[in-house]
């Protein structure tokens, strides 16, 4: 457990004091630093919020944006929803798979980039759209796809 987590837990509880509402915000904050939620982290969060470990595990596993395993520093989500598919998202995914030498759902061996599928990102006007560390980029053409891999992104 990192020393600052206790403070973060208190802040989350102060902002959302009722029920277990502090849980999701605290998981978000810790994951943004740790990049994923290890078994140890889940245990620590349970202690900090006085919740059973299986409960925290169960909640964390429900949501697609909490990662149980290590992910890349750069997470690329390619939207594969219908509007994006109609505008070439499958081709985009294949292009990125080829460039990175990995399959959708995987992380590059150097731990730099994860390539993930996203269900509709509510940005169909930008189809085909992607997110790099949850920042929208789109429409992505084959020419601009490389920007997803190398372009500067805010964390």
């Amino acid at each position: 457990m990192k020393p600052e987590w206790e403070l973060w837990a208190q802040e989350a509880k102060a902002e959302f004091p009722k029920a277990n509402s502090a849980l999701l915000p605290l998981l978000h904050r810790i994951q943004s630093e740790e990049h994923y939620l290890s078994e140890d982290t889940i245990r620590d969060v349970a202690v900090l919020l006085k919740l059973p470990v299986p409960y925290v595990e169960s909640v964390a596993s429900f949501y697609s944006l909490y990662y149980k395993n290590p992910v890349g520093k750069r997470i690329i989500h390619v939207c594969v929803g219908l509007s994006c598919a109609l505008n070439g998202s499958d081709e985009l995914m294949h292009h990125l798979e080829g460039k990175l030498g990995i399959q959708e759902g995987q992380t590059t061996p150097d731990g730099e980039v994860s390539l993930l599928e996203a269900e509709c990102l509510a940005a169909c006007n930008l189809a085909p759209v992607a997110q790099v560390n949850l920042r929208f980029v789109g429409p992505v053409t084959e020419d601009t796809a490389d920007q997803l891999l190398t372009g500067e992104v805010k964390s």
Binding site: H28, L82, E119, C120, A122, C124, N125, F136
Partner: protein
């Protein structure tokens, strides 16, 4: 064409997301008027008189929803649903990213009207920028005295909190949203009791969509007669339509209800790409049945779209051109529901899984005649047999596509290939 915007004012006023720009453009004037000139009950009556209906998808009359709150002295909550994730729908994202103060002003008016002293915005986990915009705008509103204690010397106090989800379509269902907001898995609750009686933390709660609440400031400013001057008797007012798919100008368009579907596609969205023809339109988000080319003159209001066999839903209008395979479209949408089923109810969890499997194998040319019956049978076993509407939502497109384009489904199993050349389909496991 110069349009006066009431909801998407960001299209006319750059930087309206900043409070000084918002204020310089009549921002927070409706709030002043509401607090000064109206008793809360009078505002509820005004919303009823306007005929405003929920813009999240169900189209339930907003004023009526508000009046379901029991008058029993318990604290009340307003929760705004910004968990926008219905394929084809992207209006709430534009509103929170580009015009967040409109939502906040609407929330203060709505909270005053319904007697809430605490309000929450449940923002989709993927909307990182949107949630940052909302948090910044909420902080600005506190600084200017629009939030907190004794707002504008009215005696009314309100706190707004921004809460970020973590990736789950099902949390757009209001009871699943409340579970998530309470720090739980987003499994839908059994209804009744409805949120109006036992909602957030067990208290009386109003859950409204972002766009619905954004209607409040212009409504207070201009009155219910103005609102009723647009649209129809039962579907009055304004609606944001999100247009995407095979159109030249995908985007959000603010229209008076009852504008013809053809006008939306051809005039607002610039028509179908590459000069091709419309084959099908999903008018209200991925959960509603498709409409066909000969229905393009249907007016976009709740009743007319229903009479045409579909639903206005969330207003997410996906346009599909004549070179696209409807089996592929159906398979892609079923996969979405398979991924997003929370797994609680067997018909939805298993049904969406197997329907996706069967549709994918048909598209890959490996389907059989029996698969066509299998799809109908599975649809029949999901429909109406689940806790929440997700299972039924998964069926809208596939069932209607089989009805309107039976030859296309048939050809996949008789010719053992996709007659459209599988233009859209290559991520399948077959």
């Amino acid at each position: 064409m110069t349009q006066t915007f009431y909801l998407l004012r960001n299209k006319a006023v750059p930087d309206i997301d900043r409070i000084e720009v918002y204020e310089a453009n009549q921002g927070y004037q409706a709030l002043r008027k509401a607090l000064k000139e109206y008793e809360p009950k009078a505002l509820v009556e005004m919303v009823k008189a306007s005929g405003l209906r929920g813009r999240g998808g169900a189209g339930f009359p907003t004023g009526m929803k508000w009046s379901f709150l029991p008058d029993d002295g318990r604290p009340r909550y307003l929760v705004v649903n910004s968990d926008e994730a219905e394929p084809g729908t992207f209006k709430d994202r534009e509103l929170i990213e580009k015009n967040p103060h409109l939502l906040i002003e609407g929330m203060i008016i709505s909270s005053y009207a319904t007697g809430a002293r605490e309000a929450y915005i449940y923002c989709r986990g993927e909307f990182l920028f949107g949630s940052e915009q909302l948090k910044r705008a909420v902080a600005e509103a506190y600084q200017r005295g629009y939030l907190g204690e004794n707002i504008l010397d009215s005696g009314f106090s309100l706190d707004i909190k921004v809460y970020r989800g973590a990736g789950a379509y099902i949390c757009g269902e209001e009871s699943a949203l409340l579970e998530s907001l309470e720090g739980k898995r987003g499994n839908p609750r059994l209804k009744p009791p409805f949120p109006a009686v036992a909602g957030l933390y067990g208290m009386p709660t109003v859950v409204n969509n972002v766009e619905t609440i954004c209607n409040l400031p212009p409504l207070v400013e201009n009155g219910p007669e103005w609102y009723r001057s647009m649209g129809t008797e039962k579907s009055p007012g304004l609606k944001i339509m999100s247009v995407s798919g095979h159109v030249n100008r995908p985007g959000n368009y603010e229209i008076p209800l009852a504008t013809p579907l053809r006008t939306l596609i051809e005039e607002y969205a610039g028509g179908v790409k590459g000069g091709r023809q419309v084959k099908a339109v999903i008018p209200g988000g991925s959960s509603v049945p498709v409409m066909t080319r000969d229905q393009l003159d249907t007016p976009l209001d709740y009743e007319s779209i229903l009479a045409a066999g579909s639903m206005l839903g969330s207003g997410g209008c996906i346009v599909i051109d004549d070179q696209t395979c409807m089996v592929a479209v159906s398979a892609r949408l079923l996969k979405f529901y398979r991924e997003e089923s929370c797994g609680k109810c067997t018909p939805c969890r298993e049904g969406t899984f197997w329907m996706t499997d069967v549709l994918e194998r048909m598209e890959a040319g490996e389907g059989t005649q029996r698969d066509l019956d299998l799809i109908r049978d599975m649809a029949d076993n999901i429909a109406g047999k689940c806790f929440c509407p997700l299972g039924d939502a998964a069926l809208g497109v596939v069932v209607s596509a089989m009805k309107y384009f039976p030859d296309e489904f048939e050809a996949h199993v008789t010719e053992h290939t996709c007659p459209m050349g599988a233009r859209l389909y290559d991520t399948v496991n077959h």
